[in-house]
Structures are given as C-alpha cells and as structure tokens.
C-alpha cells in the first residue's frame, strides 16, 4: 500500500470548503463564548448569592455533559422546541459556544483570582475608582495569568469543531471522511486532515508553553 497524494490534491477545493466551515464554527463558538463566559465569570466572582449560584451551576453542568451530547441535543431538540429550522452548523456552533463559555469563565476567574488581595487593597487605598482599578491594576495582571490556558483552550476548541461532523456539518473532518469513502483512499485523506490539525495546533500549543515559562520566570 503506497500513499497516492494526487487523489488528495485533486480534491483540494472541496477540502478547502470544509476548512472554511471549520473556521466559521470556531469563530462563532469563540465569538459567542467569550462574552457569555465573561458574564458567567462576573457571576462567579460575586462569591455567593443567586447569580453566583446560577453561574456556578451553569459552569458545572456544561463542563460535565459531553460536547457531543449537547451538539446532538441542540441539533434534534431546538427545531421542534422553537418551531424553527436551523442548520447543524448553527446549532452545533451554539452548542460549542455554550460549552466554551463555561471553560472560558473558569479561565477568566482563575486569572482574576490570581491577583493578590493586596493589589485590590492598595488600589482602593489609593482612591482608585471601580473602572481604573479594573483597567489599570487587575486586568493587566489577570490577563497575563489567563493567557496560557486561554491559548490552550483555543486548541481544544479547534479540535472540538470536528464533533460537528457527527450531525452532518461538512467541516474538514467530515469532508475527509466522505472523500475517503468516495475514492476508497481513506488513508490519504484522513492522514492529510490529521496533519492539518496538527500543523495548526502544534505551534499554538508550543506558544502557550513558552508564554507560561516566561511568566513563571517573571514571578520568581
């Protein structure tokens, strides 16, 4: 058995369509997940009370249910429940966004809570208002701590977009599978697509490691 890469090259335009769907799902999930995650993070930072409880429950539930179960649920249940027809791409991206929000909220919370209490006390002792306290003191320090896990999360999210293939969204993974079935060249197509994911994720993950090491050096 030898690799026949020309089969893959012939279908490159089709794979490119799949890649665009993957990128779209990734961006939608991130674009919706970030603001929702920020809201959840704000809720959890209250510590106690109704909002903190709700945010905590949301984060617990959406980090526990497998993404794929949620994707199926949204794909099959949203249309009859809402009485509308929605494509798998949108319900799937929404499901990924809901899960992403839970993870992003925890990443943000860890960042904010890493800022030492003395920083808050010093800032308010200096008479800083709410806004400058967050913008000038807390966020710059919190963002630093949150950056490596955030970059790591981006790689997880990209891998998560492949799950949309299970509800028939023609993303890169499904394209590879379908083209492999059509041409009986699973090996080439699946290997090529696995390589694409690896080539994107590997440098990003290494970047996260690098940032983390640099931060660890700065702390000492």
């Amino acid at each position: 058995m030898t690799f026949q890469w020309d089969v893959v090259l012939d279908r490159l335009p089709d794979l490119w369509l799949g890649a665009q769907v993957t990128v779209l799902a990734f961006l939608v999930a991130l674009g919706l997940g970030l603001p929702l995650g920020a809201v959840l993070c704000a809720g959890r930072l209250r510590g106690r009370g109704l909002w903190a409880g709700l945010a905590g429950a949301y984060i617990g539930v959406f980090r526990t249910i497998p993404e794929i179960v949620l994707i199926f649920w949204m794909f099959y249940c949203l249309p009859p429940l809402l009485g509308v027809t929605v494509s798998g791409l949108w319900t799937g991206s929404l499901a990924l966004a809901l899960v992403a929000a839970a993870y992003l909220a925890e990443i943000m919370r860890a960042g904010v809570q890493s800022v030492a209490p003395g920083q808050w006390e010093a800032a308010s002792a200096l008479g800083l208002g709410r806004w400058p306290l967050w913008a000038r003191v807390v966020l710059p320090q919190a963002l630093k701590v949150a950056t490596p896990p955030f970059i790591n999360f981006l790689t997880e999210l990209l891998k998560g977009t492949t799950l949309l293939a299970t509800v028939g969204v023609a993303d890169l993974a499904l394209k590879a599978y379908v083209l492999g079935a059509q041409t009986f060249r699973y090996l080439e197509f699946l290997t090529a697509v696995a390589l694409v994911y690896f080539v994107i994720i590997f440098p990003v993950a290494r970047l996260a490691d690098m940032v983390e090491r640099r931060l660890a050096r700065g702390q000492r």
């Binding site: 179960v69 249940c77 790591n152 999360f153 599978y177 590997f202």
Partner: protein, 243 residues
C-alpha cells in the same frame, strides 16, 4: 412548536434494555481505556524522561501527535485508514477502544511526566547514596510521592475519558449515544430521548466528579505530608478537558 404536555417518554421505556446496554458499553469502554491508559502513560513518561534518544523522540512525537489532533479524526483514522497500512481491519469496538486508550495515554503521559519531574533531585541523590538502584529508587521512593501529585489531574482525565467515549459512537459502536440516536430515528421523539440521555451523562459525570473530589481531598492531605505543592502545569491540566 412542542408544548410540554405532548412529551411522550414511552419510547425510552420501550427501549430501556437497549439503552441500558448502551450505558454499560459507555462505562466499560471508559473504564478499560482509562485503566490501560494510566500504566501506559506512566511507561511513556518514563521513556520520555529517562529513555535513550531513540526512545525519547518517538514517544515525544507520539504524545504530541495524539494531543494535537482530534480524537474523532484519530478514531476514524484507526478504523478506516490504518487497515490500508496493516492489511487487516479491526472491529469498530476494538478501533474505538484503541483510539480512546491511545488518546488518554498521551494525556496521562503528560500528567505523569509533570508529576515525576516535581520530585526533587535530592530524593534521587539521597537514594543513590543509600545504595538504591535507579529502578528501585523510582518504585520505592519517587512513585509513592508522585501519586498524590498526579491524583487530581488523573481524576480530571477520568472525567474527560467518560466525555470522550461519547465520540466513539461515530464508529458503529453501540454506546449510549449511538443507541439514543437509533431509538430516536425509530421513534422520532428527539426531545425526550436526547434530554434523558443528556441527563444520564450529566449524572454519570457528576458522580465521577464527586469521586474525583474525594480523591483530590485525600491527595491534598498526602501532599501536605510530603510537602509537595501541585505543579502549575498540572493545575492547568486539571481544568483542561481533552477533546
């Protein structure tokens, strides 16, 4: 639009046995994959840390390729592409189990590596001066201290493994997710079927997390005894769930 009064759970009751078997499949695949992945990951970590270069490099490549590609692609690759290379095909259950085990092993390897590296050089040096060989040092001195450090992230990996089993339904494995899809395409009751299945997964996950919490508390006490803090990169991996 469906109103709540028209919900009909009879299909789920009718197919309760199939669904229960699906749940059992999900559980045993997760348990077997995790049970194989922890020793597998430990061996990989040993190879990566102490092996000669011709062992270190392939282990590093293997772990990175597994961690940086999606499990879905890996499972499909093992089931459909690998037979073209090896010449014989495996059943869906075997392919899925292999993919899941390899995937979790790679994550377990990273966890074990961080844990082993967290043990100070002084422990090795002290054992050496007491006349212990390196394998004996690892087994008797280092490993007992590694467990409390890696317990919390390993418990997190166990929860992640349960979530990952749901992906294996894409191969023709009748796990809970796949059986649910089949029941739905027979009975056309998506809201009832998928809500119940989601709740089952949630319950299973919460149970596992509750167990993980108990393990974590015990590990925290043990860490206090040996005065080892949780390494920062392990704290991150506890949060990360593999996909």
């Amino acid at each position: 639009m469906t109103d709540l009064g028209s919900l009909d759970f009879s299909a789920i009751w009718k197919f309760r046995e199939a669904l229960a078997w699906g749940l059992l499949t999900t559980i045993w695949m997760g348990v077997v994959a995790f049970a194989l992945a922890v020793p597998g990951g430990t061996l990989l970590a040993l190879g990566r840390l102490y092996g000669p270069w011709w062992l270190r490099l392939p282990v590093l490549a293997f772990v990175d390729v597994i961690r940086f590609t999606p499990l879905l692609v890996q499972a499909v690759w093992i089931h459909f592409a690998l037979p073209a290379l090896t010449g014989y095909s495996t059943s869906a259950t075997v392919s899925g189990l292999v993919a899941l085990t390899l995937h979790v092993s790679a994550y377990a390897c990273e966890i074990m590596r961080s844990g082993i590296q967290a043990i100070g050089k002084g422990q090795w040096e002290a054992s050496r001066s007491l006349g212990l060989h390196r394998p004996a040092t690892f087994r008797l001195v280092v490993l007992p201290q590694v467990w409390p450090i890696v317990m919390p992230p390993l418990a997190g990996a166990a929860v992640a493994t349960l979530k990952l089993t749901a992906i294996l339904g894409i191969l023709a494995i009748d796990d809970l997710m796949k059986v649910a899809s089949r029941v739905n395409s027979f009975a056309f009751r998506p809201v009832e079927v998928f809500t119940v299945v989601a709740l089952v997964y949630l319950l299973l996950g919460l149970l596992l997390q509750w167990g993980a919490g108990a393990v974590e508390r015990r590990a925290a006490r043990a860490r206090l005894r040996i005065a080892a803090p949780l390494p920062t990169d392990l704290r991150r991996q506890t949060v990360e769930a593999a996909t």
